[in-house]
């Protein structure tokens, strides 16, 4: 067996401890269980002081001798064993890989241990919270997504990368961006700009916005994956860069901002490492359409789902701020939503040359 570092040893010990506890209860003739913190809205709270969504201490016992839980119990240990094997062989793999590693047919039935990846992914998250280990400590990563460029140099897995010379595609943000993988080096950036859409990011890159404005531009292509969120958080906390978020003017866009800012319910246990409570919402604001004289024909009518979603957001504790209430209220009032691309109506580079500079100049953002 290869030599493991302290952190890996610790993770393996945790997995072993979990298994031992099950063996102990079975030998004692008891119904064995795994205790897993509940990852649902019921068990998260908004820490108003730290401005983070945090997991509370509510736990769920996953019993083996329970028809509804037996399969998940079994799956939990299949995943545990697979992770132990990964760590011991010093390999890191994707969660999709893990799904295939642990998938096999049960006995002589037509049942599989896992029918689809959607089944194995939450089990991995369960394991993470159950043994309080991060995904990367389990030697797993999710599919990477997201691009970044900016006046900055980094070291990624030992390679020095100049983010000023990444061409049109940018540096693709890996899934694991912890210090031992990505080191932040020299930079002259003044802030970080997170863009919801890849297409908009491309516009900013092509217009060399980052060069002109001395900023790092990054996109998560929709809801940013863990890698992007973690990296933005590091840029913020380690380099003290302010973070601006530019998303569509719709509930979904607002929610992307909200997740970056406070963390998500599902990954509440990682909020500490992921969330940027001071992230600023720069646009698109519901009031921008008037301010920037957007014609009404670029608006999209909100559907029922949008409206109910927006109404829900009104009730979230982290949107209780009066300015946010006004912002969401305006969207509901108008019944319209706007995409970032709608700004192109005013000119192809309107967004990089006029819109954003003006917003920043006027300090027209929400926190």
């Amino acid at each position: 067996m290869a030599r493991l570092d302290a952190r890996d040893k610790q993770t393996i010990q945790k997995i072993e401890k979990l298994a031992e506890s099950v063996l102990k209860s079975v030998t004692g003739g008891k119904n064995p269980f795994v205790e897993i913190p509940v990852r649902s809205l019921a068990n998260v709270e908004f820490n108003t002081r730290r401005r983070l969504i945090e997991l509370r201490d509510q736990k769920q016992k996953r019993y083996f001798f329970n028809v509804g839980m037996a399969k998940k119990f079994m799956q939990t240990f299949l995943v545990s064993d697979a992770c132990r094997e990964l760590i011991e062989s010093k390999k890191t793999t994707s969660i999709r890989d893990l799904y295939y590693m642990t998938k096999h047919t049960l006995g002589e039935t037509k049942q599989n241990t896992f029918e689809e990846q959607e089944e194995s992914d939450p089990i991995i998250e369960d394991l993470e919270v159950a043994i309080d280990s991060l995904r990367e400590e389990l030697h797993l990563f999710a599919t990477g997504r997201g691009s970044m460029v900016g006046p900055m140099t980094i070291r990624d897995s030992g390679d020095t990368i100049d983010l000023r010379r990444m061409g049109s595609g940018g540096w693709s943000v890996p899934s694991i961006v912890e210090e031992h993988v990505v080191e932040l080096k020299k930079h002259e950036a003044k802030y970080v700009l997170l863009l919801e859409k890849d297409a908009v990011w491309k516009r900013f890159n092509e217009d060399k916005f980052w060069q002109r404005e001395k900023c790092i531009i990054v996109t998560g292509q929709g809801q940013p994956p863990r890698g992007v969120r973690r990296l933005v958080q590091r840029l913020h906390s380690e380099l003290g860069l302010p973070v601006y978020v530019l998303v569509d003017n719709d509930p979904w866009g607002f929610y992307i901002y909200s997740v970056l800012k406070q963390g998500s319910i599902n990954l509440a246990y990682e909020s500490m490492r992921m969330a940027v409570p001071k992230a600023r919402f720069i646009g698109l604001s519901s009031f921008d359409k008037a301010k920037f004289e957007l014609p009404s024909n670029v608006a999209i009518k909100m559907n029922e789902q949008d409206s109910s979603r927006a109404k829900q957001m009104l009730a979230y504790p982290w949107f209780k701020d009066a300015r946010w209430q006004r912002e969401i209220g305006e969207m509901l009032r108008s019944g319209e939503k706007y995409e970032l691309e709608a700004l192109s109506r005013r000119g192809i580079s309107f967004i990089t040359e006029e819109y954003l500079p003006r917003k920043l100049r006027e300090r027209d953002w929400l926190e």
Binding site: N31, A42, Q58, K61, I265
Partner: protein
Amino acid sequence: MAAKVKGARDDAATEKVEKRRVVAQIELVMTGDARTTARPRRAASAAAEDPATDSEPVPVSAPVQAGAPASGPPKSPTRRATAEQMAQKQREISISEFFTKNRHLLGFDNPSKALLTTIKEAVDNSLDACEEAGILPEITVEVRDLAWESSLAGDLTKGEGRFVVVVEDNGPGIVKAQVPKIFGKLLYGSKFHRLKQSRGQQGIGISAAAMYGQLTTGSPIRVTSRTGKGKPAHLFEIQIDTRKNNPVVSRDDELAEWHQEHGTRVELEIVANWQQGQRFVNRYVEHTALANPHATLHYQRPRQEKLTFPRATSELPKEALEIKPHPHGVELGALMLMAAESKSHDVKGFLQTAYSRMSPAVADEILERAAFKGRVRPRNLAEDRALAEKLQKAIGDTKIMAPPTNCLSPIGDELMKKGLVSFLGVIETEAPEEEEQLDLDHAGKKKTSRKEKEAKAEAPEVPDASPEEGVEKIKGHNYFISTVTRPPKVYRGNPFQVEVGLAYGGSWPADKPIELFRFANRVPLLFQRGACGVTDAIVKTDWRNYLLSQPKGSLPVGPMALLVHIASVWVPFTSESKEAVAHYPEIIREIQLAAQECGRKLAGHIRKKQHADYQAQRRGIFELYIEEVAQALGKITGKSPQPIKREFMRVAEKVTEAEAEKIGGAEAEKVGGAEAERVSDADLEEQDKEPSAAPEEGKKPTRRRKRRSEAEGE
């Protein structure tokens, strides 16, 4: 006069006008009606003025101009024959002739149906005779393919061909003198004039079959009969004189020897379609065996092994008694007819002798209500409609006890059950149709194939069905059988009784509509299912209450056969071919009540079964997963998985059903929560709605609200 008209008709076209006038005059003479005479005349004159429009209908304007009423045909049609001419053609129609033109009314629509009807009529007669005589019936049904037999090679006749149908019984036999009339004369029988539950009613069936054979093949019906030991057997060949509806005996031999001590053998050569008709015949024989558990049936088909349905009981059904009609069902004409036939001197005597439930007190009450003036004899009733009507009204207004119901002979709960068991025993081995369905079901979810089932039954760890009441194991298949016999009821003065039996499970296909077996007086009804009141009653019953699925307006779906039997002294069929029961609300109601009663028992069984399935499934799940868990735990902890597995199995056994149930119940809420876990960030909305997975559910809302208000405060 007639000849003259004929002459006019033959005349050339140019003389039509003349002819028309002649015809019109004739009409005038004949009808002698002023209104009708006026019109043809005018029409004729109008036609004369304009010969071009002669053959055309007279314009509507003509009568209007003439000021005649606008109603009535604009022109009377050409008379074609006189009443005298027509009278020459009018003569009595023999019932036999009527039949030759209307065979479909009696079930001889086509060769495949004719095959079934022929067999059915003969078997019905045999069973009736045996029961009436008090003999346990043993009946042989044989179908022979003549073309195949003569070639002795090749395939059976495809489509239409000549077949011989033989039905033999061990009944009382028929006295020599009666044989020709019974088989060679339509509407001759013993059952028509009485009110008694029997299969046959009109005395038309077997002679109709004989007529059908004679019409299609020219061969006479052959009847062999013997009335008892020491008496000779007689062999007849009988033809029917279709014009006179009379038998013509073409052969009458006394047989020196016959293998039956007593009984009757009927042989008919007919044109039939075995290929298409056999499934009906198969079904008829099967179902007859089912509804007549006291009978043994032998069934010999071309090129197939003889099939025997042994009797399930050696107890004869209760003898059906003959009853007098109930006064409340009697119509006016019938009343007058009965009065005319009455031998009584007074109306009271007539009422008491002709009707059931007519006590002297009731008869007096009726007479008082009728308030006849003077002395009225039954004969007067027959002659005077007003009197009869008075009496009928009085009868209707008087409360009279329901008719006696002891005249009915239902199959009975127990025997119906026995019949179902023995029927299922035979069709489990037979019934190629069911085999096919089984294969289809192989892919189906609910149903396992026979092979799998047998494997299961053999496996020691899967126990046979618990000795649940009503569950019968037949050839390795478990059937739940439930039967209900309703108390007798009355419709239109006719007593009737409904019985329902069901067989659930076994190898019936689970994803098809149930099999509905309809019977009337123990005779299977095979056609016109959709038009039958029985089907209607079953369709209108809500089977979803009894845990079967049921598409709207259809039979329920499930692995079930449902038997519905109506016993009555007079079953209201919708037609003479006796294929469907009429929609009498009283009857439909009774069927539904019986079906519901059976259904309730069925629901109990299904629930038990679902529970047992669930338990077995649970054990299976645990066993399946233990293997995996033990392997994984073994690898993680570096221990051998075998001992771990044993420990788990030990606990699995310990976790008894009750315990596990308790755990399962307590954790049920959490399972829901576990589902919620899966939801990704994007689906927060869903999570909001999801009942949360919290053991401390009760406290939470207050806490959350508190936090929120805190957040607001900031």
